[in-house]
């Protein structure tokens, strides 16, 4: 997608053996250690790494905005300047930094909604960038802000300029943030996970915009991300980080096609492929439907969160429900487990209509359908030991206290944690480990159906791959029926037998995984597949 640079220009921003120390008592001595990187004009350099790799610390160092308690230990950070020669950024005072930030080095935030002032019109917020740096006059600023909004390809620029952030979508807000970053024509643009909070379709648009703006303004872009698909779409060069160290730097071609370091190879291998995997049927599964949903709907006042939905899931198979935010996929999940009351319709699990039961009958039928949640941090009671949490689920399923404890220990081992983890609180575990505890808790009730609501989207790709494998193994062993809610078509392609695509509270297409991916019928399904990052490359 991006033009290759033939003659390497001198770097605009140069990092040489940069180290930032962590305070004593952290799990490693350095946040980043001995990083050397050159950022050249008009190139997009992607920094890739999993959580805790130090990629965000690298970006805040380059903005002179390290979190309190962290400081540059050693190394150089040099910004080249036509007029002033080289500027040593490590030696700048806070006052001097203010002449650099925004003017020379600008940033695109991760959460555009949170980065904008909720009580000011976005046009004004762009004007303010000029005002702070003493550019233009109060009379000319609105016109310039409007010009920038137009350049971002936002529809109806006058209306957008007069809108408050909450009146815009996430993608539109992000484009406003990009306009603010570009307002003073900086030489370097730092984008820290700028599309992570966006839906795939708006992500695709924002990525395209960033490439296009780079072609026009020739600024250098340092693009931080965990998503190799995004990297494949936009990177000229790629830097891979792990645990604060630079693993490998090279052109996009080199890194993606011929990675040399084992870590890079593992990272690329962990990215779910778009090709649907042939799936062996679960041995000895009883044929028939395990879950039948008929006309299930939810209305809030006049808003239809879920239009009447019909679907059936065969026993011991996986149905993936794919959709963007606001598509109603989480509403469907919560209706299935009866966390919210359905407005109409039935949801029958192995002959029990969960949508109709009340009181004790409902409490007893509930264990047939269990859920794994999205946020591994919010889904476990912080004041309970993880073993206690799992054992309690087993007790509710009818075990005695001793049986429950034994089952909890066995399950902890089954999901890849040790039985000695029983007494520890959730705070002692990583995100991926907590998600395993969540799976063990759901399994402790011996459910027929498992609903996984975005259960791997908060995890790093390598951890995500492990959790997906675990779920598949458990399905083979226990004959589980799984409904897997996700925004990620790649993940859906890997783990499901059938896929339901949702949009605006409606199931627009429901078919075998292979036909959805290879022969999508509905225009929206096609748009989703087209927008998925890194389709060709990985």
């Amino acid at each position: 997608m991006s033009p290759k640079i033939m003659t390497p220009e001198p770097p605009i921003l140069s990092v040489k053996s940069l180290s930032v120390a962590l305070p004593a008592g952290a799990d490693r001595p350095f946040a980043i250690h001995d990083i050397s990187l050159d950022l050249r004009p008009a190139e997009i350099l992607c920094v890739v790494g999993e959580s805790g790799s130090g990629k965000s610390i690298l970006s805040s160092t380059m903005m002179g905005a390290l979190p309190r308690g962290l400081a540059i230990q050693s190394g150089d950070l040099t910004l080249s300047d036509k007029a002033l020669g080289d500027i040593d950024l490590t030696a700048l005072s806070e006052r001097a930094w203010r002449t650099i930030r925004g003017r020379r080095i600008a940033m695109i935030p991760q959460e555009p909604m949170a980065a904008l002032n909720p009580s000011a019109k976005v046009g004004r917020q762009i004007e303010e960038v000029f005002a702070i740096h003493g550019r233009l006059t109060p009379k000319t600023r609105p016109a310039e802000a409007l010009r920038l909004i137009k350049e971002m390809h936002l529809p109806d620029p006058e209306r957008i300029a007069a809108s408050y952030p909450h009146q815009l979508s996430g993608g539109q807000c992000q484009r406003i943030c990009i306009a603010m970053a570009l307002a003073l024509s900086p030489d370097v643009l730092i984008a820290d996970e700028p599309t992570t909070a966006l839906d795939v379709t708006s992500q695709a648009q924002v990525l395209k915009l960033i490439c296009e703006l780079r072609d026009i303004h020739r600024q250098a872009v340092l693009f931080i991300t965990h998503d190799l698909g995004v990297v494949a779409d936009i990177a000229d060069r790629i830097a891979v980080m792990e645990k604060g160290r630079l693993v490998e730097v090279g052109t996009a071609e080199q890194i993606l096609k011929h990675p040399r370091q084992p870590y890079t190879q593992a990272l690329i291998a962990a990215v779910p492929s778009f090709e649907p995997k042939p799936r062996a049927p679960v041995p000895n599964a009883k044929p028939g439907h395990c879950l039948e949903v008929d006309g299930l709907s939810k209305t809030y006042g006049r808003t239809r969160a879920l239009k009447p939905a019909n679907l059936t899931v065969e026993r011991a198979t996986t149905l993936a429900v794919v959709g963007e935010s606001g598509s109603g996929k989480s509403t469907l999940a919560r209706l299935l487990v009866r966390l919210i009351e359905p407005s109409d319709g039935t949801a029958v699990v192995n002959g029990h209509d969960l949508a109709r039961l009340r009181g004790t009958a409902l409490r007893q039928a509930r264990r047939r359908i269990q859920m794994i949640f999205q946020d591994p941090f919010g889904s476990l009671n912080p004041r309970r030991s993880v073993g206690g949490t799992i054992a309690r689920a087993a007790e509710l399923a009818g075990c005695t206290r001793q049986e429950a404890e034994a089952r909890a220990k066995a399950l902890l081992e089954r999901v890849g944690l040790s039985a000695s983890a029983y007494a520890r609180r959730p705070a002692a575990f990583s995100g991926g480990q907590r998600q395993r505890v969540g799976i063990a808790r759901a399994l402790a009730m011996r459910p027929d159906v498992l609903i996984a609501d975005e259960s791997v989207s908060a995890l790093d790709v390598s951890v995500q791959a492990q959790v997906l494998t675990l779920l598949r193994e458990l399905q083979m062993e226990l004959g589980l029926t799984i409904v897997f809610i996700t925004h990620d078509l790649r993940v859906a392609a890997q783990i499901s037998d059938r896929v339901a695509v949702m949009r605006s509270g409606e199931i627009v297409e429901l078919a075998d995984t292979a036909s959805i991916i290879l022969d999508p019928q509905h225009p929206y399904t096609r748009a989703l597949i087209a927008a998925a990052p890194g389709r060709g490359a990985i």
């Binding site: 009866r338 409490r363 509930r366 269990q370 949640f373 476990l380």
Partner: protein, 276 residues
């Protein structure tokens, strides 16, 4: 635990601890019978007729002030603890119900709490005590009535926030009963802010019991009561300041101790949350 070894906590716990011990061992510590008339209006340090010393002097009726302070610690410590506990029982239960269930339960209970909170606190106490008559039990009822709404509001907010978390959703899906969700899943996650508030509220209650005593609405005489002692000494306070100063110091030292304890616990919790 290192966060809890800070001076505010140690001094606060020390002051409170001393008064609790004094209340427990009052008969062993008091040099004289707190109800017996000996020498009227003796100055602090004056010798007693039957041997010994009036360390803090005597009051208008000749009773030893130190002994009355020591015995007076008992009703203060016992009543403020009991009254705060009952206020907590009512406030926590109502707060959990309102926060978790929301809807009309929340609307109703919040309205009631706001009505009670809209009256000046002291007026509320006076109305309750005058209506029911002064007695230890009625002091407890009055404090519960006036303090429970404040506790209710704290718990309601915490419960309303926690019920959005997925671990509560998980408990619901597992078929956990409502009371277990309220008291086993939600309440333990609220103990931090509640402990701090409990210490503060013990302090307020101590002040209120003192004020009620001062207004003649506390314990019926001649029982030793710190607030009552200030009231009795009020007319002669300029000539004999010891009548008023020592009971006032007793009240403020206990309240100060509780406030320091609350402050310290709060700081310690913050430090712990920051993980430093």
């Amino acid at each position: 635990m290192k966060h809890f070894r800070r001076p505010t906590i140690l001094i606060g716990a020390g002051l409170v601890g001393v008064w609790v011990l004094v209340a427990l061992f009052a008969p062993l510590l008091a040099p004289f019978d707190p109800l017996k008339s000996l020498t009227p209006l003796a100055s602090p340090g004056a010798p007693a007729p039957g041997g010994g010393t009036f360390w803090l002097g005597t009051d208008l009726l000749g009773r030893d002030i130190l002994s009355r302070l020591i015995y007076g610690a008992r009703p203060v410590v016992a009543l403020s603890t009991l009254a705060t506990l009952t206020a907590y029982t009512v406030g926590v239960s109502a707060g959990l119900l309102a926060g978790y269930y929301g809807r009309w339960i929340d609307t109703g209970l919040s309205f009631l709490a706001n009505v009670i909170l809209s009256f000046p606190v002291l007026v509320l106490y006076i109305v309750v005590i005058v209506a029911l008559g002064p007695s230890p039990i009625n002091v407890v009822i009055a404090v519960t009535f006036a303090s429970a709404p404040a506790v209710f509001r704290i718990v309601r907010t915490i419960a309303a926030d926690l019920k959005q978390r997925d671990f509560i959703a998980a408990a619901v899906i597992q078929g956990e009963s409502a009371w277990r969700i309220l008291f086993i899943e939600i309440l333990p996650n609220a103990t931090g802010p509640l402990t701090v508030d409990f210490c503060l509220r013990l302090g307020y209650t101590t002040i209120i019991i003192g004020a009620l005593g001062f207004l003649g609405l506390g314990l019926p005489p001649p029982a030793p009561d710190w607030g009552g002692m200030v009231n009795e000494g009020r007319a002669l306070a300029f000539a004999f300041p010891h009548l008023v100063i020592f009971p006032c110091l007793a009240i403020s030292s206990l309240v100060l101790g509780l406030s320091l304890l609350a402050d310290g616990l709060n700081e310690a919790r913050d430090a712990q949350a920051r993980g430093s």
